[in-house]
Amino acid sequence: MKFLLLGYGNPGRGDDGLGPWLVERLEQQWQEMKQGRQLITFLTAMQLQPEHVFDLEVHDRILLIDAGMGTTDPFVFEQLHPRRDDSFSSHSLSPQTLLAIYLDTLRRQPPPAFLLTVRGENFSLGVPLTPEVLERIDRARDFVCQLLRAPESDWLQQAGRYTGYA
């Protein structure tokens, strides 16, 4: 089983950078604990781009981590499905559209993909992650570590239910 953990956002924009920040901490933790049985690729990006389909292509299960603006709960975990929307109007891409591009370009179903959205508070230039977000990230990190040891059925069970309060 090969996992891809992809955190995206701009680290120069306060809480927008929480996805890359969390993935980098997870990578460090994973190496320190020598939990090398799982094959995990840790990847960070400023934003999703069409070429990420080639990263998805070589993995069996995908976890994307993003900052949320106006997310109602501290964090939300959900399963992603391809959706051919027209959200690509700038240099960014929704995760659902990325899966749709996978379908359109590679002409096969993408691997099971999930999104963890952690609510951000301050997206200003040059500010650090806010204390509230750091606390949320700690809990999100525990949640991701559990997920990585769990079978896919558990991922599906958690999707849509886990909101950071459970």
Binding site: Y8, D16, M46, D104
Partner: protein, 501 residues
């Protein structure tokens, strides 16, 4: 002699009873820009401006930081060209530690990194942002004008895929040199921190011939599209300007090092071999009250005559040759567009960009075979100095980083003149040209407004730091009368849907 033929449209003389149209934000450019048009009762354009509405304050953000942190910090300016800022800052920091010239391995590794960056950035712009307009048509349905629609179409799917793979390869080059696709490390004050490994070489070499072939396909595509509608491409958003670019000591095309050359609209070289450390004597900036972005100009010529363009078009117009055979052959053909004189058509930027993609691919192949990438001294040291300037050719044009530090090495002054700022007057002039030639006297609609955006996008502007929230911004077009009353409003949401109000 250059001119701003449409300068009279920068400020309306009689503002009463004019309607205001805002294109806010301009889509598919990096950052947040806004175009406003003032129209009279007959829809005649009386004023057209490109504004920058977000003030970054990034230079302030750098002040007080130690100089050795700067190359990493500045990568956060932009999600598309962080490596350009990394390299410009690294060159400035080299000067701060008294290093004017790197070891051959150090310089070649940085060049490899830079070619990867330019290749991936140009591929993003051409295939993701510009080609939907070029392939589907400038007035096609708004839902079609994006990379997703390109990939969904049977006709253009292969072209879109090659574009994605080109960009991916550029990112793999970056990753091999600095460890990550974005925000990696590699350049140090006075050199680089590692060689390329033989496995990294094998990984890149297996694809590089294919990459050259895809680059040639992309070049063939833009050449074909340009000639198929030559009159339109030669006339649309055309302005007459000078051009500024780095060139080698003997006038060759240059992206990483070299000196500045200013070439006039008539092909005369107005100034040549300006050393990067001397730029403050030659380039000044003018401030205007209606935008945050400054207007650089060549000091000797003054702000009215001394404005210029930078970027791929400027680099091809300024250089005497390109030192890779396929790109040089393409340059010679390209320069025939205006019979050997500097090419002035703004849409020719796309063609120039594709020639540079091919050049970068050729140079990457050549460098991968160079033993200096795999062994030899990486670092050089010197005597510290309080001031350092670094200039490179970023994908979008001349990029200047200028720092002063105190005795403890903390930054006391930072001045960044980014490529898009150099093109400020030119972009405004192109917007005014399109407004005057295509919109004047006509009822406004989305395809017409898209013409303005196409003119701006040709320059591939990077207007502010990227956040992935940009794609969620709506496009809002408002008609406002002289008393401030909104007459009509059109909103294009992040998902592409349109709503009236």
């Amino acid at each position: 002699m250059t001119e701003q033929r449409y300068r009279h449209l920068e400020t309306a003389t009689e503002r009463q009873n004019l309607r205001r149209v805002a294109i806010d934000p301009v889509t598919r450019v990096e950052g947040h820009g806004k175009v406003t048009l003032l129209l009279d009762e007959n829809n005649r354009v009386c004023q057209a401006r490109l504004h920058i509405v977000e003030f970054r304050g990034f230079e302030k953000f750098i002040q007080g930081r130690p100089y050795w942190e700067v190359p990493v910090l500045v990568q956060r300016l932009c999600g598309i060209c962080p490596v350009s800022h990394l390299l410009a800052a690294a060159k400035a920091v080299d000067r701060l530690v008294g290093v004017a010239e790197l070891t051959p391995p150090g310089e070649k590794l940085r060049r490899l990194l830079h070619y990867g960056q330019v290749l991936q950035s140009h591929a993003l712009h051409f295939f993701h942002l510009a080609s939907p307009d070029l392939l589907f048509g400038f007035d096609s349905e708004v839902e079609k004008r994006n990379i997703v629609a390109l990939l969904r179409s049977d006709q253009f799917r292969d072209i879109g895929l090659e574009g994605i793979r080109l960009r991916k390869f550029g990112q793999e080059v970056i990753k091999a040199v600095i460890g990550k696709r974005i925000h990696g490390t590699g350049p140090l004050p006075g050199g680089m921190n590692k060689h390329l490994t033989s496995s990294e070489r094998t990984h890149l070499e297996k694809d590089v011939d294919q990459v050259i072939s895809w680059s040639q396909n992309g070049l063939d595509l833009i050449r074909r599209l340009y000639h198929a509608n030559a009159d339109y491409h030669q006339r649309f958003a055309v302005i007459r300007s000078h051009f500024l670019a780095l060139v080698t000591g003997d006038g060759g095309h240059e992206l990483y090092n070299g000196c500045l050359r200013l070439k006039g609209a008539d092909g005369q070289i107005l100034n040549d071999q300006i050393c990067d450390q001397d730029y403050p004597h030659f380039i000044h900036e003018k401030v205007k009250p209606w935008t945050y972005m400054k207007f650089p100009y060549f000091a000797k010529l003054g702000p009215e005559e001394g404005w210029y363009r930078v970027g791929p078009l400027a680099r091809l117009n300024c250089c005497d040759y390109i030192d890779s055979p396929l790109a040089e052959e393409a340059r010679r053909e390209f320069m025939q567009l205006d019979q050997g004189l500097p090419v002035q058509a703004s849409l020719a930027y796309h063609w120039a960009r594709m020639i540079e993609i091919l050049h970068c691919a050729e140079r990457i192949r050549e460098l991968l075979a160079d033993p200096d990438l795999y062994a030899g001294e990486l670092m050089v040291s010197g005597e510290k100095r309080p001031e350092g300037i670094g200039i490179i050719e970023a994908p979008r044009g001349v990029l200047i980083h200028h720092y002063r530090v105190d005795e403890e090495g903390l930054v006391t002054k930072a001045n960044l003149i980014v490529s898009t700022t150099h093109n400020n007057t030119a972009m405004n002039e192109s917007v005014r040209q399109v407004a005057a030639e295509y919109l004047d006297g006509r009822e406004l609609n989305e395809p017409l407004l898209n013409q303005i955006e196409i003119a701006i996008r040709a320059y591939d502007p990077c207007l502010s730091c990227a956040t992935h929230a940009i794609g969620k911004m709506p496009l809002e077009v408002s008609l406002v009368d002289a008393s401030g009353r909104t007459l009509q409003r059109l909103v294009k949401h992040g998902d592409g849907s349109l709503a009236g109000g």
